[in-house]
Assembly symmetry: C2
Homo-oligomer: 307 residues x 2
């Protein structure tokens, strides 16, 4: 949103975002794959509404940039990166439902259930989640079946009841309670709800690249710290942002009694915690040397995100 | 429900059903797996409500019996069989939601959103679907990663927008239309909504057993015909059944203008079509000889199901 010329990082983010958009568009074409009987047009339209035309594609960026740092060409990591984004998009479609967060706007556009209806939004989310695993397991994604199985397993574990879906449950639980959550409960909630999939995005890049166990655990530490910073930055943005910047309603967290680290630590405390996580993320990459430049930029970008 | 002594098939169905129940119970224990941060208790309880304590476990039976016919011990097919059942259970939890079919009873018990709430039922369904792929991709399921990836891919393709979820969309579309669907549209809808997962249950057994391409395509034909018979039998049951037998409200299809083959063909025509599909299913197994006895019994059972 700044008027200054885009940085090298911003250019790369935009470039990879465009490739992700094209790939997801192709995945959601009317073209049938073997074993499919039909692609009902209303469902496909709702899936496309949920998955296309919005977002910075940060998760795919992290997967692709990590794989690239380890010597893997974009074409090799693009499909798994898109699978992760499909999971992210499904989660938004379901979280926005009236039974959940009841949001009408997402990235400045009507949410899926507003553009279609609740039933279609539920099914579109279900189908996007399912498609993500289809993509991970498909031989077109990688010739090595152990990598495909690893990708599918990691995605499931990051997204399920022990990860993202579990985090959303904790978030709903917290809204129902009168007393604010303690700091460590909020940290757990956020590490599940948004952290797990961001962390896995980085890990997926490592899996595609066949990274060593040491590299993989350093990258997981990077992804976990970046995920924590991301969520705090999001909370800060909600607390001080406005609708024009967010493309969605602002100040809703406080109105809903949402558990955030801004409410637990105050704005200044939250900013400090965010900076600390970014420092931790950068430190986790120390063994990768200058190759890690783009991922380090991504970590800094995360902390000052104005999108 | 008959007072006569159970047949060998009924005994085997009950025995394998109990093993499936035990395995799903273990999958949904509070025990964390690597990479999981917590299993929120309310979400886990809702998942257990959705997945335990009901049903004949026909899909797992088909997977296990198929694998067994091809020489694979039950222990080797039990986990993939349970993964398929988790997908079936997720679909019921979502289909029962007020935004979809709005059912309060399922197998004589409150549906998930009645026992918990809509948001929890949505999340429980999401998490069960995700867990199914976790199970398929987990090395604990099979040592051969190409089999695990094949299982995950086949499950995704049978369950997604080109299969089960797409079929549910077509079903909702049909309810909104004034004119009844033509016969072939109903057949497509049903082959997606219920047929695809039943067919894949049989195919999963073939995948686990490393069946030849010929065997696999014969078994897919068997599964497809059995799936079609199953759905017609279900429609017939709804048209003539009562709440006590079904454990759910009967006659709802007609009340809702649901697209069924009973409305398209009449009761006698539907019975005839069901018998033809069973004959086709049995014929598809002709090359397997006496080994196919249990699967043939399953096909006949499907046509006179009173559960």
């Amino acid at each position: 949103m700044s008027a200054a010329a885009p940085t090298a990082f911003e250019q790369r983010l935009a470039e990879l975002g465009a490739r992700v958009e094209t790939e997801i568009d192709a995945l959601l074409s009317p073209q049938l794959l073997p074993g499919e009987l039909a692609r009902p047009s209303r469902l496909l339209a709702a899936m496309r509404h949920a998955a296309l035309g919005g977002g910075k594609r940060l998760r795919p960026f992290l997967a692709i940039a990590t794989a690239e740092m380890l010597g893997v060409a974009v074409e090799q990591s693009l499909r798994p990166a898109c699978a992760i984004e499909l999971v992210h998009c499904y989660s938004l479609a379901h979280d926005d439902l009236p039974a959940m967060d009841n949001d009408d706007l997402r990235r400045g556009r009507p949410t899926v259930h507003k553009a279609f209806d609740d039933a279609t939004a539920i099914l579109a989310g279900d189908a996007l989640l399912t498609l993500a695993f289809d993509v991970m397991a498909d031989p077109a994604t990688h010739r090595d079946s152990s990598i495909r199985a690893d990708l599918a397993l990691g995605l499931a574990r990051a997204s399920g009841h022990g990860g993202m879906a579990g985090g959303q449950m904790l978030d709903l639980d917290a809204e129902r309670q009168a007393a604010p959550l303690p700091h460590d409960s909020i940290a757990l909630l956020q590490s599940m709800k948004t952290g797990a999939l961001l962390r896995f995005s980085v890990e997926a890049g490592a899996i595609v690249a066949g990274a060593s166990a040491d590299e993989r655990s350093e990258l997981i530490r990077f992804g976990a710290a970046l995920g924590a910073a991301f969520q705090i930055a999001d909370d800060i943005l909600d607390a001080e942002g406005d609708v024009a910047t967010l493309g969605k309603a602002a100040g809703k967290d406080a109105a809903r009694n949402k558990a955030t680290l801004v409410s637990a630590l105050g704005l200044a405390g939250a900013r400090k915690a965010c900076d600390e996580y970014i420092a931790r993320a950068v430190y986790a990459l120390r063994d990768f040397g200058p190759r890690a430049g783009l991922l380090i930029d991504a970590a800094h970008f995360t902390a000052r995100r104005d999108f």
